[in-house]
């Protein structure tokens, strides 16, 4: 599929639609920040021809109609914190930057709903909600920078999905602009809605290929009053993973169960100069329980702690205040950064397997690590089987060798994942980073059904082309 370029004449039309100062055109330096997301490898980047910053659904509608008329690719973009290349304009064209549509339009405590624009920073919603005693339970790890529109488009998961599920669960209404430029609106401030197809949930996780959200209705939850984190040290991965179903089937649903393997722990703790005794530790779980009644939470964390001890835990650390909780979470949060210090190249993956298959998956990763002579630290959301297995370049290698070997590692890893009943991405999305591997997890017929939906909604393949699958 080839697209036309944004000509100076078209740039003028765009300026006419959104205002001259909201168009970046012909200035490679200023366009560069919009050529990539948080995927580090430069190979995945591509410069847009223009960045346009609309302020309303009407403006977006006019831009889409223009793009269809001129056959120019359009890629919507939030904060650019994605990890699959979803916001990268790989066919050039126009990047639709949603940063100006950043208003929280309404907080409706009576209905426990909020209406927001897509460019609001996710954490900002929760900052505003705190005084109402409410919370938006979507909790991606990047919540301090990411935009809620991107969360919906990628169906973001994160650390608290075990208890609260992923973003889509809280989206009850969407106003959006279709790829052909129509403004439509589905759902509303209602919890139940079977009036027609569930277009909202089709849009959730569509990675910016099916529509551009302009207004999002979010279901809210009461804000838990108290939370306690446990850091549990195990000798082996098996012991750690065995504890997960034990906890989950005990009538306690933790907010988070994070897993870290030996390599991830060692690298992060050394980087942080953390003094907890991790030398003999083969795996750690970080378990968070939250609630409204401190005694209830106390009872729950104690139960979880005891279950872990029964599973052979070496030690259970308890953090029930900001100082200690921060110290515990720091270990988990700094893994990626710690590896970046020693090896600049790594491929952050987010495979997901049934929980019971985590030990087998970890063993599989060890085999791959030996086979290819690379380190593959594994950490992530054990409570939902979502693992950040992250091949890290062998420091002795050249970048060329890494680029040659990495696809083989990924291919082996994804095949193993699928064999164990898993999927190749749990929360980051396919984008163009994992597009080549989608056929490992899906049949041609299954992909083709998605292709037909895409064709029906976007006949000219204008919106975010080249993502998930090739049309």
């Amino acid at each position: 599929m080839s697209y036309n370029k944004v000509t100076p004449g078209i740039a003028d039309e765009l300026r006419e639609i959104v205002g001259a100062k909201y168009v970046i055109y012909g200035d490679a330096d200023r366009l560069e920040p919009f050529s990539h997301d948080e995927v580090a490898e430069k190979d995945y980047a591509h410069l847009p021809e223009a960045v346009v910053r609309p302020s309303s659904a009407e403006e977006i509608s006019r831009i889409m109609k223009l793009a269809n008329r001129e056959r120019i690719a359009v890629t919507p973009r939030g904060a650019g914190s994605g990890l699959s290349g979803g916001a990268v304009p790989i066919c050039g064209g126009i990047v639709l930057l949603m940063d100006r549509m950043n208003r929280i339009l309404e907080i409706d405590p009576a209905n426990m709903m909020a209406v927001v624009e897509p460019g609001v920073v996710t954490n900002e919603i929760n900052n505003q909600l705190a005084s109402y005693g409410l919370v938006f339970a979507g909790y991606p790890m990047s919540l301090e920078t990411c935009y809620v529109g991107g969360n919906v488009a990628e169906n973001a998961g994160g650390g608290k999905a075990v208890k609260y599920g992923v973003t889509g669960r809280y989206i009850t209404g969407l106003e959006m602009v279709t790829p052909t430029g129509e403004i439509v609106s589905y759902g509303g401030k209602v919890v139940k809605d079977v009036s027609g197809y569930n277009i909202i949930q089709l849009m959730v996780g569509s990675e910016g290929t099916l529509g551009i959200f302009t207004r999002i209705i979010i279901k809210l939850l009461p804000l838990p009053k108290t939370a306690v984190d446990l850091l549990v040290l195990f000798r082996t991965v098996d012991e750690a993973i065995e504890a997960v179903p034990r906890i989950m089937t005990h009538g306690i649903i933790p907010t988070a169960i994070e897993f870290m393997d030996r390599l991830a722990i060692k690298t992060s703790c050394q980087y942080l100069h953390e003094s907890i005794p991790y030398e003999d530790c083969g795996a750690m779980l970080l378990v968070e329980v939250d609630g409204f009644d401190s005694q209830q939470v106390e009872h729950e964390y104690e139960t979880v702690g005891e279950l872990c001890m029964e599973c052979g835990a070496m030690e259970v650390y308890v953090a029930d205040n900001a100082t200690t909780a921060e110290r515990i979470w720091k270990i988990r949060r700094n893994i990626a950064e710690a590896f970046k210090v020693t090896a600049p190249h790594q491929s952050l993956e987010d495979i997901v397997v049934p929980i019971s298959q985590i030990p087998e998956m970890v063993r599989e990763l060890e085999r791959l690590s030996q086979k290819y002579d690379v380190q593959i630290p594994c950490y992530g959301h054990a409570g939902d089987g979502n693992l950040h297995a992250t091949p890290v370049m062998n420091p002795a290698w050249t970048t060329e060798k890494w680029q040659e070997v990495l696809p083989k590692i990924i291919d082996d890893m994804f095949r193993a994942t699928v064999r164990l009943g898993g999927k190749i991405s749990g929360e980051h999305g396919i984008g163009h980073k994992r597009k080549a591997y989608l056929s490992l997890a899906m049949s041609e017929a299954e992909i083709d059904l998605m292709r037909q939906i895409k064709r029906a909604l976007d006949p000219n393949n204008i919106l975010n082309p080249g993502k998930i699958f090739d049309v």
Binding site: Y271, L272, H273, E337, K340, V341
Partner: protein, 343 residues
């Protein structure tokens, strides 16, 4: 209360030489003494103190030096120093005693305040006299520099305060200024202590950043201890002390004496350069009163920029080498210029 009159500063010495903090305290003391129209005394405990240094205390504004000398008073130990001070206070009844917020002052003053049942305020930034009552008004930052509290001691005497080193200029020397040096005998029974100093490890690297005119501080943004060495290089170029955020200290890239912030040191240098420091409120509390603040950070929204005069938004690995190179060029150009001028 009216029995108490005169302003004291607690001068400090090391191996018989008067320390610079004493001269800064004379600036503070002179102002107060002039307002109160009372004499200013420098009180010094030590051993074999240089006569020239004693005379200098007078030249820099003391009307009187009260000196207690004894071999046992050479190194600071809280109990003997306190007992000697207590005797002197009971003899002379000063209305105000000011000391430096040094490892000595911060230890001796609270110990002494208890013994005298006196009020003591730590780390004052402003000292003034309340019109009418003549009370000492002591202003100090609190809650991480978020507020300034003004404190007074309405009843108890003497009124005691510590002030941060380098928060005042040293008093000017006036040649020929005269005053009295009073040598107070020290009774042996005051000198027992449960503490003995058996050694000293000089560590220039702990060079007190609270005293420095310029501080270059590094944080988490450096990522490795290797890269953190660039902080030292820049500090060398700027003749600055090296500071660090808590993150850098926790990662063992540098030792605790360099930590700036709420759980480290508070600094008030003329120049503070923060590199790779995001500016958590705890860090800002330790440096936001610096005269000029410069920040280098790759996050344009980093809090550190909110207290900075000049900020460079960029990758420190790219910016630092250029900055170092430009400073080096400038220095070398300056050196060759002065050579020419000299030749």
């Amino acid at each position: 209360m009216s029995d108490y009159s005169g302003i004291w500063i607690l001068a400090e010495q090391s191996a018989g030489r008067v320390l610079g903090i004493s001269h800064e305290l004379l600036t503070r003391g002179r102002e107060l003494a002039d307002k109160r129209k009372v004499p200013l005394s420098a009180v010094l405990l030590g051993n074999n103190v240089s006569e020239a240094d004693l005379a200098e205390l007078i030249e820099r504004g003391a009307d009187q030096v009260i000196l207690a000398e004894h071999a046992e008073l050479d190194a600071f130990r809280p109990e003997p120093h306190t007992r000697v001070m207590q005797r002197l206070v009971e003899k002379y009844h000063p209305e105000i005693i000011i000391a430096g917020a040094t490892s000595t002052g911060r230890t001796l003053m609270p110990y002494l305040a208890v013994k005298l049942h006196a009020g003591l305020t730590a780390d004052c930034t402003v000292l003034d006299i309340e019109p009418g009552t003549g009370n000492l008004l002591q202003t100090r930052p609190a809650i991480g520099g978020n507020i300034l509290a003004t404190i007074k001691t309405p009843e108890a005497r003497p009124q005691m305060a510590t002030v941060r080193p380098k928060s005042t200029r040293p008093a000017m020397r006036q040649a020929g200024r005269t005053g009295e040096i009073i040598r107070e005998p020290v009774a042996d029974d005051l000198l027992s202590s449960g503490i003995s100093r058996v050694g000293f490890v000089k560590d220039e690297s702990t060079a007190n950043i609270s005293d420095a005119k310029a501080v270059v501080a590094g944080g988490r943004g450096f990522k490795t201890s290797e890269k953190f060495k660039m902080v030292y290089a820049l500090a060398d170029e700027l003749q600055a002390a090296v500071g660090a955020s808590r993150d850098a200290v926790d990662r063992a890239w540098i030792t605790y004496p360099h930590q700036v912030g709420l759980s480290g040191k508070t600094v008030t240098p003329g120049l503070y350069v923060a590199i790779g420091i995001s500016g958590a409120i705890q860090h800002l509390a330790g440096m936001q009163t610096a005269e000029t603040v410069v920040a280098i950070n790759n996050d344009p929204d980093a809090m550190i920029f909110s207290v900075a005069d000049y900020g460079i938004v960029g990758d420190l690995s790219e910016v630092m080498p250029v900055l170092l190179e430009r400073l080096r060029e400038r220095r070398e150009a300056g050196a060759s210029q002065s050579e020419e001028a000299g030749g």
